[in-house]
């Protein structure tokens, strides 16, 4: 059994992956923020370095990147890289 997560992409990660959202599957007992980031880096190695400096939000709440938290399949997950243009 696995959970499917919808990930909203912004700025650089949207540009590189070429989509504004993607779906990621994680096994039920491995559905955590660390595993999600790990899997994203594995599938999209080209965004690895951007992921390092991006903000991760679950249900529009900032998630500390030092803490591994449990995520549920209905959670709205967003990856928000810094934008510096203007």
């Amino acid at each position: 059994m696995s959970n499917q997560f919808k990930i909203l992409l912004f700025a650089k990660v949207k540009e590189v992956i070429g989509k504004d959202s993607i779906f990621i599957d994680l096994p039920l007992d491995e559905s955590t923020s660390f595993n999600l980031i790990r899997k994203l880096k594995h599938i999209y190695p080209q965004i690895s370095s951007t992921l390092e400096v991006s903000l991760l939000a679950v249900n529009q709440e900032y998630i500390s990147r030092d803490q591994d938290i449990k995520i549920n399949s209905n959670d709205e997950i967003a990856i928000i890289p810094p934008v510096s243009g203007g």
Binding site: K12, E15, L55, A57, Q60, Y62, G85, G86
Partner: protein, 425 residues
């Protein structure tokens, strides 16, 4: 007997001018007085800085400071609505201040035609109540943040690219600073600039207008609603605003935390590995000399030997469609290391080599200059260096069949030195 009672110092002409805003709930006389007595520093007089400055000046902010080292170009005008065609070539700070003075002669504008750096920041910032980050580059964003933390000024920060924008207030009412949220500068290669990725006028217009509104809220003491501890993201393409709750002030933050390691301004160009400007300028060589050709040499060599070369343009298709050199093949840098792309390039090379051999069989005067050349070109000669490295590696088995060269300074160089009619953007 007095003709009327007016227990404040707003003059009749100010009451007339600011009337609609004066009668707006939560502004009133005291709010307007605060605006008129305040000073706001705007870093950047570009896409964001223009709407911020236009709205704040018309709202009657007493003193505005405009910092920008750059001059107005025609390519700015689609989004930088505070400048005019007649300002081409003059300082952006001066140009914007001229527009403002025609809009509202009651306010004072100070212009700083200089780069905001660790050396100039503190002297400028100390005269203002609030700072607006309307800059376009990473190094300036960290500099402005640290300067605001060190001087205790609220910072209204906006940014935009393509169809998207972000805005939040830092260092306000014990909220987080930029470093609390983004402690590490992004690696240079992950940063897309507006000059490469593009940006739309209404996007910077929306974000800049929101920044002006946050300034007005802060100055009129409408604390509750201030966009602090929240990041607003605007996706203009899908017409969605999202607000993400960001973490609060971090006790471990290097500049606003309990034990800050940054207690005075540092060298942000070094910290961020990038300049206090968006403009790219000339690109440094990163590849071996043997892989580089200048636009002049390239021009000469295609004149001498027009058929025996392959020109690969590695710009994104959206840019290639604007204008390209004759006989160029578009293989964007993002795709060049993919199997299909390599196969296409191999096929093109083989065709050229065969063609060449056939011609040479008919012609006894064969020499080394007949060797096939594969040229890589992009806009500025930056990505073509990455492309040359990738192809040098991926085409190892064929490397004795052709010369591989990236065109230094790219199509901008071509426009500058060879053909000034080649459109630049």
């Amino acid at each position: 007997m007095e003709k009327y009672i007016k227990e404040h110092t707003l003059k009749p002409n100010e009451i007339e001018r600011y009337g609609r805003q004066l009668i707006t709930p939560d502004i009133g006389v005291s709010g307007q007085m605060s605006l008129c007595n305040s000073s706001v520093l705007i870093i950047g007089a570009g896409g964001l800085g223009c709407p911020v400055a236009l709205y704040l000046s018309s709202a009657g902010i007493g003193t505005l400071g405009l910092v920008d080292y750059d001059t107005v170009e025609i390519s700015n005008l689609h989004r930088q609505i505070g400048h005019r065609e007649s300002s081409k070539g003059i300082s952006k700070a001066v140009s914007l201040s001229k527009t403002i003075s025609e809009l509202n002669s009651l306010i004072k504008v100070n212009t700083y035609e200089t780069t905001f750096t660790s050396e100039t920041a503190m002297e400028i910032i100390k005269n203002y109540d609030i700072v607006v980050d309307a800059s376009d580059n990473v190094a300036t964003r960290y500099l402005v943040n640290d300067a605001c933390v060190l001087t205790g000024k609220p910072l209204v920060s906006g940014s935009a690219l393509k169809w998207e924008g972000q805005i939040t207030c830092y260092n306000y009412n014990n909220g987080p600073c930029y470093r609390c949220i983004f402690p590490t500068p992004p690696p240079v290669e992950t940063v897309t600039k507006c000059s490469d990725g593009g940006v739309l006028g209404p996007i910077v217009g929306v974000i800049g207008s929101l920044q002006a509104l946050e300034v007005i809220k802060i100055l009129t003491n409408n604390k509750e609603g201030v966009l602090s501890g929240r990041l607003l993201i605007y996706d203009g393409m899908s017409a969605v605003f999202r607000t993400v709750r960001i973490r609060g002030k971090q006790s471990g933050c290097n500049v606003c935390g309990d034990k800050p390691t940054v207690t005075q301004l540092i060298d942000y160009t070094q910290f961020c590995q990038s300049n206090y400007s968006e403009s790219a300028g000339k690109v440094d060589d990163r590849v071996d000399k043997t892989l580089i050709i200048t636009v002049e040499q390239f021009n000469q060599s295609i004149k001498n030997n027009n058929n025996n070369h392959l020109l690969i343009d590695v710009r994104p298709k959206i840019q290639f469609d604007i204008c390209s050199l004759p006989n160029s093949n578009n293989i964007p840098i993002e795709e060049i290391d993919k199997k299909e792309s390599i196969e296409i390039i191999e096929k093109l090379i083989k065709e050229k080599v065969e063609n060449n051999n056939n011609n040479n069989n008919n012609n006894e005067n064969r020499d080394a200059s007949d060797e096939l050349s594969v040229y890589l070109v992009c806009r500025r000669g930056n990505k073509s260096q990455d492309a040359v490295k990738i192809l040098d590696e991926k085409l190892k088995e064929f490397r004795d069949k052709f010369k591989l060269l990236h065109i230094k300074d790219g199509l901008l160089g071509w426009n500058e030195s060879i053909d000034d009619s080649f459109p630049i953007y």
